[in-house]
């Protein structure tokens, strides 16, 4: 008889149906395997401490031991010191184009831009903080609106950041999310001074212009294509971000191929549309999650052939940090033009409406900075409190997605489309990583099999929590 090893209290072991087989994994320990039903049964017994007959193969016991590793508790300690993922600067909430799906409220936003002294105060405080806390990476991200319509602010912060970094022996890293609608000369500034540029580009002309018009008459495709070309040749890491709707979901493979050939970016990021009143009014809808998962997978394969990274944020990291990819909960400090410091770059009204309070501090024009430690601690716990995610194998990489759009307080326990696509993509990535590419392809070609995996209520191999 083999003695069963009861599942460790911290072990995160999941099993997912992949047609006739099962994908078992412990994403925190980085262990996964594709096994048959009989092996799963033995594995369950082994993990629940049941003594197994000698006939059970050694490999099941070995797998159980590997899976049965406790999570290296990377969840943030409540009292750990402040450690911002980055300093965010929102130079303005206004924008120079009129995306039909914009959920940043740019259309209605004031044209107020951040006071330069306030911007400097933010950078100074951050550099001082990094130095006091012995950190050396000074990461500053710009969001909007469109940050480059407030160029004075961007340039001031970038140059101030460089001066501070040189003075204090810090390594500066500047990143910007932009719509790319700026003139060629400015693209050179962006390419020369930014380490990473996230450029919104929704694919071929027809769809891009449908999604992201300059105004009611004209699309932004030409301007964005030109910026993408210039940034592709610049020293910056160029990441193209494509918003996926029903209009372009079937073309992701072609878009990926074109992006890779034409712009040779560092990465291409595909994210599905988050529905809002504006996109609804424009008749745009997110894609069917099953179609998106399949389409994304195919695009990913094309990009692998080009040697270029594909990104779907919720499935990107299996690094065991349950805070997910969202900056909220990672001590992120994002400064709005009015001096509020929040953890989220969405407009205050959007997260208030979802019942969230994401402000964590304030900067005044005279340069004084206050950060509310209690608010930081509260937000650190936010990602852990997601009832829908408790038994989902993706919780370690997805973290429940956007706290505002996907898992606001009180949201239903049912999987959303977002969850479905994330579960399918994550599973196919695990299969790929094991060399089971064929299993992934077959899974994604079989709607019924996809549903069985995506809609499984609990993935836990033991008792659901």
């Amino acid at each position: 008889m083999r003695t069963g090893a009861p599942m460790g209290s911290g072990a995160e072991v999941f099993a997912l149906p992949v047609r006739q087989a099962f994908l078992v994994c412990n994403p925190v320990a980085g262990v996964s395997a594709l096994i048959n039903g009989a092996a799963l049964k033995s594995l369950r017994q082994q993990l629940s401490g049941v003594a197994l007959p000698e006939s059970v193969s050694a490999s099941v016991a070995e797998l159980a031991a590997l899976l049965n590793q406790a999570a290296p508790c990377s969840q943030r300690q409540d009292q750990a010191p402040l450690h911002p993922q980055f300093l965010g600067i929102l130079p303005t909430r206004a924008c120079n184009i009129a995306c039909r799906y914009c959920d940043f409220g740019a259309g209605a936003a004031s044209h107020r831009t951040m006071d330069l002294r306030m911007a400097r105060a933010a950078a100074d405080w951050y550099a001082g903080f990094l130095q006091r806390s012995g950190q050396d990476l000074m990461e500053i991200h710009f969001f909007g609106g469109e940050p480059f319509i407030a160029r004075d602010v961007v340039e001031t912060v970038v140059h101030r950041g460089r001066v501070l970094a040189a003075r204090n022996n810090l390594t500066p890293h500047f990143e910007v999310s932009t719509n790319g609608v700026f003139e060629a000369d400015y693209a050179r500034f962006v390419g020369d001074y930014f380490d990473a540029v996230i450029l919104s580009f929704d694919g071929f002309r027809e769809v891009h212009d449908l999604h992201r018009p300059m105004d009611s008459r004209r699309g932004s495709f030409e301007e964005v294509r030109q910026s993408a070309m210039l940034l592709a040749g610049s020293p910056a890491e160029l990441c193209l971000r494509c918003c996926v709707t029903t209009a372009n979901v079937d073309a992701l493979e072609e878009i990926a191929d074109w992006f890779c050939r034409e712009f040779r970016p560092a990465a291409v990021n595909f994210e599905t549309l988050s529905m809002n009143a504006k996109s609804q009014a424009a008749g745009l809808s997110p894609p069917d999650p099953y179609v998106f998962a399949r389409s994304y997978y195919q695009a990913r394969k094309v990009m692998q052939r080009h040697g270029i990274r594909s990104v779907y944020a919720a499935a990107q990291s299996m690094d065991g940090n349950c805070a997910g990819f969202c900056p909220v909960g990672r001590d992120t400090l994002i400064v709005s033009p009015d001096g509020r410091i929040s953890s989220c770059y969405l407009p205050q009204a959007a997260w208030r409406q979802a019942g969230l309070a994401l402000d964590v501090g304030r900067i005044s024009a005279d340069g004084s900075v206050t950060v509310d430690a209690d608010a930081i601690l509260r937000l650190r716990r936010l990602a852990e409190d997601k009832p829908r995610c408790i038994n989902c194998f993706c919780r370690w990489s997805c973290g429940g997605g956007c706290h505002v759009s996907h898992t606001p307080p009180g949201s239903s326990l049912q999987y959303q489309d977002y969850c479905i696509q994330t579960r399918l993509i994550s599973a196919s990535m695990l299969l790929d990583a094991m060399g089971e590419e064929q299993a992934a392809r077959v899974l994604l070609a079989d709607r019924q099999a996809m549903e069985a995996l995506a809609l499984q209520r609990s993935d836990r191999i033991g008792v659901s929590r």
Partner: protein
Amino acid sequence: MTNIAITSQCNRSCRYCFAGSVASESQHMDPAVFEQALDCLHRSGITQARLLGGEPTIHPRFSDFVSAVEGRGFDLLLFSNGRMPRKSIDRLRRFPEDRLSILINTDPLIFGKGKNQDRLRQVCRAFGPRLHLGYTIDSPGADLGFLLDAVSAFGLAPQIRLGIAHPSPGAENFFLHPRHYLAVGERIGHFLRRARKRGIRIELDCGFVPCMFAEADLGLLQEIGQLPGLRCNPLPDLLPDGRLIPCYPLARVAGMNMDADSRCAEVQDLFTRKLAHLRQAGIFRCCNDCILRSEGRCSGGCLAVALQRLRHVPFAVPVPGRLALSPQAAASPCRGDEPSDCAAVGRPGPAPPISWTIPYIDQPPSFWKQIYSLYGNRIQEVYCPLPGMVLPSGRPVQASRYLDGFLRSSPLPVGIIVNPVILPQPVDRIAPFVIEKLRNLQNIGNLQGVSVADYGLALRIKEALPEISLTASVLMDVAKPQQALLLGNLCDRLVPSTRIMRDKRALQAVAEAFCGRIRLLVNEACVPDCLCRTQHFYEMAYSVDPPLSLCRRFLDRRPWMRLTGAWVLPQHLHLFDGIADEMKLAGRATLQNPEHYLQVLDAYMTGSPLTPDRIGGGPASPLHPVKIDEGFYRATFTCGKRCDSCSICRDYFDQHGMG
């Protein structure tokens, strides 16, 4: 030149091809030009003719050219895409096997279907072990595995050359962006292991950089003698029309016509000099802060890639009301390439790059030729002690195996230092011997100037040899305007005391008071007002052994004071703009090690960053490879040296873990 491009025509159209950067007047090289090229190879002592294109085998006179190569006794290395006309294959098969190598640059289509692929495979089979494969990586998705299969399938030489597709301005070619180097490095790492298993050697062409490889892969590369990082010193290419270029990607930056006297090494030297200042640019923004670069393990990658980052935006700026312009500044330069209305003013030329005086190190003539080829007329003098032990200097006794030859035939001007901190006898007794020796040197070589530490000796030399340029040595210890005034116009230049090197105001004051040129000694680490200075330099001059580090006794107690020393790092030289007319390097530590010497010299010539422990500044230098940020250096350049009440250096020392 080493590579002879006999035609610019090609029967393929590779997307990464860089040859389009050159608009050649004639597409095929004329036989007369080819003969000249072979003459040049012969003159240069080169025994291998390397033919490339375009596709060289489609030149209508290819067979004749091969015959000329064979007839004149050269070995042949042919760069080809493998799509050779049958006639060319036949001619190559008659070339003596042991003198023929063929490098086929190929792609996965080598296993594809079609007439061209059949021909390529035919070539592979025909030349087997005399042929090796090359592959140009232009995408992070490049699959290299087919190369190993091809070597086995066709019995080729077990050797594969990998290249990176570089940008070639004018060719608008497809190239590998540095953002993908890391991904490519990873692929090459896997490939290296597979190749090793099959006994196939991998060679890396120019442009690979160490930071694209994992440590383990660098180890593998080191094992096979292929450490990347320093290969961007292009062997010139000769174009079909007789023009010489450093390489195709740099064709628009430098070029010259071949003439009847051209020698390969000289052409290469010339291009090296022409490109030297550009080499300060690296392919990544952070190259100049990179430890690999400062340690001389990487030159910053392919220069053509680095120059992709070049910017020029025409801009004009109104002169603010407060701008006080000196007459020279207001009459600022206007060069030949300026619009004619500006050029007509006839203003003086641009400020020349600063010139350097460097120490003699006992190395063979080739060493000095190399320095000359690298830095040419930026070297003002190479200084050495007076030979024959007539009078010691501020440096310990050195090896002198090559000194005589150097003094007679140095390609660089020579300076002599007669600057012991104390003369062993009164000037009147010593001066005649010194003068006689200098006069002899003047007669046999390229003597330019003399450095002296004693006022009286300077007077005597000036009197006897007025044509020789005199420098007041750093050991004259001029640190105040009054001293500069006392010196008057006896000396043409002054090296201010190291005690004020980190005191901007004091330096400015001395510079203003002195009527000649100011030469700054930049890599000497003496702490200001050192308590052991005189004894140290006395021992330096008169001990047989190199003197001990006397200052260590107090620096060990206050190690942070090493941060206050006289050293200037290459990256901070610009802080001395407006003070220095010329610069000088000391040879304290570097004279023991020619490699170190060259690294230090190159860093100062190019402004490449170094840490203070690497500049060869002597025993008072900081001992750790600490990065000195400009803010700190700037602050301590103007702080007034009130170290008793100030903690900047102490704090910096502690914060940077030097304690």
